[in-house]
Symmetry: C2
């Protein structure tokens, strides 16, 4: 049957909500973010609690922006980068709504959106929230080093976005239509450098993009934009090389959320990353541009690196995945 699902009823994103940290709101994308944090701790005592509060804030925001009551929401699908996805689970605790936890690392926005679309398209539920987020400080101390150590970051590294985004998917109403989803395979090219996520994830993105265009028979110019989640500058170059080698030139209309989320300063090196990266770019900037009629058709593809500190410590390479959804307005 191929890897692609076609949503006959064309479920739509009827409302979105985003929140982002101080650094994220300095960039161009930041101008489109709904809530700009003045303090990355969000009034909480720990980074993890701040991350959870951001996620809860955008889930609530998307419901409110859709003019719905919480009782009218049938399902929340969410995940994050933390061990046992505590941000998503604890955020879901605030809502008396059924919950499905997912884990796809930085691919979570596309995974949860594809699942939400399937549940609505299948006629199982009317209103489903897909949400994810990340926090720079909680990710650093979990995956790398506590910030207090002041470790030097290598030039191929990326900066985990502090932010969260949510989409409310419904069966009817005005919004961005989700017309198909291409679910990705786990791809591992043997990269072991945990500071070079772009290189690890690019082959997974290439695999899903090539599959998508092979199965649809479309050309890249059928889309205004082909958007990857957080490959960063280096990973995006690798992606373009990998697809070009296979006869597909996406150079004209490819952008990467990680590349555009920050004003390029020295310390982010390759750009942004984290589940929150594609979540805020999709649900703020891209959503606004689509609703304004500037973009009509986008292939949104979030990529995830499925490693843990334990797997890396045991000498494993980094398996990655990318899921794509087609968005139309």
């Amino acid at each position: 049957m191929g890897q692609r699902i076609i949503f006959q009823r064309q479920p739509r994103i009827v409302a979105v909500s985003t929140i982002a940290g101080t650094k994220e709101c300095e960039g161009i994308v930041g101008r489109y973010v709904e809530t700009a944090l003045a303090d990355d701790m969000f009034g909480e005592s720990t980074y993890e609690k701040a991350e959870c509060k951001m996620l809860s804030h955008v889930i609530d925001g998307a419901i409110t922006n859709a003019h719905l009551d919480r009782g009218e929401v049938d399902l929340i699908i969410s995940g994050d980068l933390l061990n046992q996805i505590i941000s998503a689970s604890f955020a879901a605790r605030d809502f008396s709504v059924p919950f499905l936890g997912v884990y796809g690392a930085c691919s979570t926005m596309a995974e949860s959106l594809a699942l939400a679309a399937a549940f609505v398209d299948g006629g199982y539920f009317r209103h489903v929230v897909a949400a994810t987020g990340s926090h720079f400080a909680s990710a650093e101390r979990q995956y790398r080093y506590p910030l207090e150590l002041g470790c030097t970051r290598p030039p191929q590294s990326q900066w985990t976005v502090t932010g969260a985004g949510a989409s409310l998917v419904a069966g009817e109403g005005d919004g961005i239509r989700i017309t198909s989803a291409t679910l990705g395979k786990v791809v591992d090219y043997g990269i072991t450098d945990v500071n070079n996520m772009g290189a690890a994830m690019a082959p997974a993105a290439a695999d899903t993009i090539l599959t998508h265009f092979r199965e649809t028979g479309e050309e890249p110019d059928a889309y205004d934009l082909i958007v990857t989640g957080d490959l960063g500058a280096l990973g995006s170059r690798i992606l373009k090389d990998l697809t070009w080698e296979k006869g597909l030139d996406i150079g004209e209309n490819h952008i990467d959320c990680g590349e555009i989320v920050y004003n390029v300063l020295e310390d982010e090196f390759q750009g942004g990353s984290g589940a929150g990266c594609s979540a805020i770019v999709l649900n703020s900037y891209l959503h606004a541009k689509m609703m304004a009629g500037e973009f009509h058709r986008i292939l949104f593809l979030a990529t995830g690196a499925l490693l843990s500190t334990v797997s890396s410590g045991q000498g494993e390479s980094i398996p990655c995945i990318a899921h794509a959804v087609t968005l139309e307005k």
Copy 2:
């Protein structure tokens, strides 16, 4: 719309596969397990790699038992207890099949089965594998203490099952029909004792069971068995009290996978737990009994405790969840 999904096309479990450790295979359930490990390391150098290999083994087993080639499988849905669900992600790397990672702790078997049924029922895919597993030693060192410390276990604790199970869900063929799924909410009664998962999870199980019977209008005797995942002996007693208080008496036909998975010996205390617990009981013992015509209708309900060592360390209580699927033969 309620929390319940009705699967009109009645997707079915056409094949299963299970594997379990030495201790698990000593019990009554163990006689029904497909592959009995002689060595809980499964020939690997670490517990985590053994867990991953078990999961890979049962995914492959379910595909083989369904007389399918890997190329005919459209999707693998899997998750586990480890940080960043590395067992599931690394197992999926072995298969060139689209993958969705989920996290629901010990509720993963029900969550992945409900998702698999939705994808098949919606007509999106023909063959979907739902799988999960756990390993006693990897869970102990991640959630509690390294085994080498020889810590004393408190009497309210449970023993994480070493084992994995997979179900192959298809749109047609002979098998156990999945007729509905009731997706659970996150429920938190404020339990903070990380050694007493049964008490933490029982309210979530009660919430989903009460919702299921309220929405269906059925009585408990409409089922041969109401099966919970891994509440253990104490948690099962709490569940029966909580539902009885709300006017629903499930005492007659309730069993708990954690309670039956081991011969009761001193060191398991309340019984088994872990994502592998309900996975092996469902895909070995319950599957065999249903196929033999001994049970016709089962409400299978796996429960998960959505905590992490970080959340507990930061003083949080334990949010829990339970998803239910109705199985008929």
